[in-house]
């Protein structure tokens, strides 16, 4: 089930009639659903971290893509990555799982602190993210690098697939948010709920 379907389900539950001129437009429901989905994912992440000590990004969200390295930088402006995850956890790996070329995630602050630090292997390269660019201060081994990242989960129609459990939470939240809100007057002729 995708977020749009969840939103539509909740919308119909609140306003069962399918005729146009609704109290709250469906598009607003969808936007709220997307935002709520991101929030619920974050809550689940924190809960798992509290209880299990770690959070693993669901595998259905992970995507692998090969990107060109230009001037020791990778442009990620075209990636639909999951920004809601804290600590930039959306970026899972660069370089792939094979040994030999190792890329270690860093930050702008750590890149300055660890400048000259020789504790890691000589073959390791660090990278950090600045806006829509991934920068490699020590360069890269190749001109194209695979990136594994957490995608938003959207399909080609822009539908975001969600975990069923999170989907239920999102639907419930939508009903909590919008249930009981007073709708606009029925403008259609001889059409109302009681008929």
């Amino acid at each position: 089930m995708n977020v749009n379907e969840i939103a539509e389900l909740a919308w119909r539950q609140l306003q069962p009639s399918s005729v146009g001129g609704r109290a709250i437009h469906l598009e607003e429901f969808k936007s709220t659903a997307k935002a709520e989905f991101a929030y619920q994912t974050l809550l689940m992440m924190w809960k798992e971290k509290r209880e299990e000590g770690e959070y693993l990004i669901p595998s259905y969200l992970l995507k692998e893509v090969e990107k060109d390295v230009v001037g020791n930088e990778i442009d990620i402006s075209g990636l639909e990555y999951f920004k809601s995850l804290p600590f930039e956890a959306w970026l899972q790996d660069i370089g792939g799982m094979k040994c030999g070329c190792k890329y270690v995630k860093s930050t702008v602050k750590d890149a300055k602190l660890f400048c000259g630090d020789d504790s890691m292997e000589d073959s390791a390269r660090t990278y950090y993210i600045v806006g829509n660019k991934i920068k490699f201060p020590q360069g890269t081994h190749a001109k194209k690098l695979p990136i594994i990242y957490a995608d938003k989960g959207g399909d080609i129609n822009g539908n975001l697939e969600v975990d069923d459990a999170i989907g239920a939470l999102v639907r419930q939240r939508l009903i909590e948010i919008y249930g009981g809100k007073i709708g606009v007057n029925d403008e259609t002729n001889n059409q109302n709920k009681t008929n």
């Binding site: 299990e52 000590g53 770690e54 600590f87 930039e88 956890a89 970026l91 899972q92 790996d93 270690v104 995630k105 860093s106 750590d110 660890f114 630090d117 020789d118 504790s119 890691m120 292997e121 000589d122 073959s123 660090t126």
Partner: protein, 333 residues
């Protein structure tokens, strides 16, 4: 000190990092760099305080122009210096009197630009003065004796002797000039380094000869000798000069194929060290928890230090144990 005999049982530092992250349920992307840094620091700390580095063995090319060898970057101190001959290592003699000119900051030697001799020879031969005290009446005067080398090689003894002029009743000086020898000079004005010339200089001016032509108190050189100059990163060698110097030394920290290697016995100690460092200065961690983790590290380190006991130690301990002799009478009772 732990005797780290099992130099083959070394594991990459990154495995310690991975184990630490696993134990802490950490996110490798967030913590790998920090944990690597802490592990390296912990490893160097253990080497300084507890572990003994397994020695490294290297063959280093000799610079035949300067008879020097560059020390490896991780050189701490040498355990053997020599060369290899048919698979056998031949030791070199340590000669602390061996000097490397590369290490001399300001030799103060002014060399002739033509013949590269020390110009001091010329200067000291040119004017070499001695003085004697001469008593005239109740006063003392100096009689100067100067040996002067002229540009044509003539070496003269010039005496400046005070005397009392009876007519004027004043002390005056009489100068006498006596030819000593003719020293063979090069066109640049420096003495020619022929054996005959040196012998002549030894006769006419033993001081100059002793200062410039005699060796300065060296030990006898049996084959290859060496001296280590850590400040300049060189080993100076003399005597028999091989193409490559064989060096065994204790390094600071081992980096093999571009990565640090950790002795296996130190693995758990370093993992606990990392876990302690990860929370040591975190504000949301209680003092109790920090202290608990610190004690875990100390405990593992103690286990590491007690783990390796050498066979020699066991034998010596057995030998030093007191022996109790039981007589038959004692047994009977």
């Amino acid at each position: 000190m732990v005797d780290c005999r099992d130099k083959m049982r070394m594991i990459p530092l990154r495995k310690v990092v991975a184990a630490s992250i696993i134990d802490m349920y950490g996110d490798i992307n967030r913590t790998e760099q920090k944990y690597s840094h802490w592990t390296a620091r912990g490893l160097k700390k253990l080497y300084r305080e507890s572990l003994r580095m397994p020695p490294r063995r290297v063959l280093i090319p000799v610079n035949k122009n300067t008879n020097t060898v560059t020390l490896p970057v991780d050189f701490d101190y040498e355990t053997f210096v020599g060369y290899l001959s048919n698979g056998v290592r031949i030791p070199a003699l340590n000669n602390p009197n061996l000097i490397s000119e590369c290490t001399i900051e300001n030799s103060g030697v002014n060399l002739c630009s033509v013949c590269k001799q020390d110009k001091g020879i010329c200067e000291d031969l040119n004017i070499s003065e001695t003085t004697d005290i001469v008593q005239i009446g109740e006063s003392s005067y100096f009689e100067t004796v100067t040996k002067t080398l002229y540009p044509n090689g003539s070496y003269y003894l010039e005496k400046n002797t005070p005397y009392l002029n009876i007519e004027t009743n004043e002390v005056e000086y009489s100068k006498t000039k006596e030819f000593i020898a003719n020293i063979d000079l090069l066109p640049c004005g420096c003495p020619n380094q022929t054996p005959e010339n040196k012998e002549l200089i030894e006769q006419v001016n033993p001081n100059v000869y002793g200062c410039y032509y005699t060796p300065c108190g060296c030990a006898e050189n049996h084959g290859l000798s060496y001296n280590v100059f850590e400040e300049s990163g060189l080993i100076q060698i003399s005597g028999f000069i091989p193409d490559e110097l064989y060096l065994e030394y204790n390094p600071f920290v081992i980096k093999v194929n571009g990565e640090y290697m950790v002795p296996e016995i130190a693995f758990e100690t370093l993992v606990e060290w990392n876990k302690f460092k990860a929370i040591q200065h975190k504000p949301n961690v209680t003092t109790y928890e920090k202290e608990w983790q610190k004690q875990n590290f100390i405990s593992e380190r103690r286990n590491m230090e007690n783990f390796k006991v050498s066979l020699d130690f066991i034998i010596n301990a057995a030998i030093s144990l007191p022996r109790f002799a039981f007589s038959d009478q004692t047994k009977a009772t």
